[in-house]
Amino acid sequence: EFRFGSCRVEGVVLPELWEAFQAMKHTVQAQDNVTSVRLLKQEVLQNVSDTESCYLIHALLKFYLNTVFKNYHKKIVEFKILKSFSTLANNFLAIMSKLQPSQENETFSISESAHRRFLLFRGAFKQLDIEAALTKAFGEVDILLTWMEKFYQL
């Protein structure tokens, strides 16, 4: 299960997500020509506290589901990687639907910190041409999964 601070997510098997992404990784990352830029840079994911992690993962998954996956889907069909994509997207949806970041006042500053990290990521995304940004963001799912692994317990 995942434990992002107080947010617990059961019913998702992380190795299945890795398997799905590995099946797409080479195809997708080969399309990324902007090698000098990284969206999920260290300032976004490093030293994230447990409490902050639930806010951050919720924002990131929401962005991936609503923006990256949705707009990159034509390429997915073109590359014929629909099954693996479906596994990844539906498991991200399963995770997100179970995340309930606390909305209490005392955690306001923490959620703000997480939001600043997310804005760093989204800002970098918006700096790029949309096609390049979608390709890079999708290709960086392994960075996201590696970070999520820290909060996963067998």
């Binding site: 098997v13 799905a20 949705k70």
Partner: protein, 204 residues
């Protein structure tokens, strides 16, 4: 033309046991003809964000029999839509869609088959191998008043696991339960099996 109008398959349903999901439907029968079927699925993501997208099933695009193992297609614990179309030559029927989306967390989990044996003074259990998603919880105890129940987690089936070194003349009992983390559920316990090792007390 016998197939001017090819009826769509009816009575779609999913039978799921121990995370094996079988989609079945009533066959379309045309005397003297062989009808094939195409099965497609969409997860909750597709139905929410791109409902026009349907994905061909791994094993049944096409298939001849009125059933399809969709286990490899259902890869997240979210609701899935499933649909079937009949084809005959260049003719295709309309799609028939499963009335209620299927979620793998509704699978029926049966108690695991197990074999409890003695290897010398060792109490050994082997639980059936149900696949990588399955873990087992094994409970064992000495059959005597006030005996404490011991619990052991077995990560995978199909190989013998040592539970305890037994004392001669004491009966040991075992039962087991299936667990699937991907759906956060577990089965009922199996029947209890007991064994006893004869002989003198243990050598010093």
């Amino acid at each position: 033309d016998t197939a001017a109008f090819l009826p769509a398959p009816q009575n779609l349903s999913v039978h799921s046991t121990n995370m094996k999901h079988l989609l079945t439907w009533s066959p379309v029968i045309l005397p003297g003809e062989t009808v094939y079927y195409f099965v497609e699925y969409q997860g909750e993501y597709e139905s929410l964000y791109m409902s026009h997208i349907w994905i061909p099933s791994s094993w049944c695009s096409p298939t001849e029999g009125p059933e399809c193992d969709v286990t490899d297609d259902i890869t997240a614990t979210v609701p899935y839509n499933l649909r079937v179309s009949a084809t005959l030559g260049s003719q295709s029927s309309a799609w028939s869609t499963l009335k209620h989306p299927f979620n793998r967390n509704s699978t029926i989990l049966t108690p695991p088959r197990m074999e409890v044996t003695k290897d010398g003074f060792h109490l050994v259990i082997e639980v059936e191998d149900l696949g990588p998603q399955f873990e087992f919880l094994v409970a064992y105890w000495r059959r005597e008043p006030g005996a404490k129940e011991h619990i052991k987690e077995v990560r995978s089936g199909g190989s013998p696991v040592l539970l305890e070194t037994m004392q001669p003349g004491v009966t040991y009992c075992v039962r087991a339960q299936t667990r699937v983390k991907a759906i956060r559920r577990y089965s009922a316990f199996s029947q209890v099996e007991c064994v006893e090792v004869q002989g003198e007390s243990l050598p010093l």
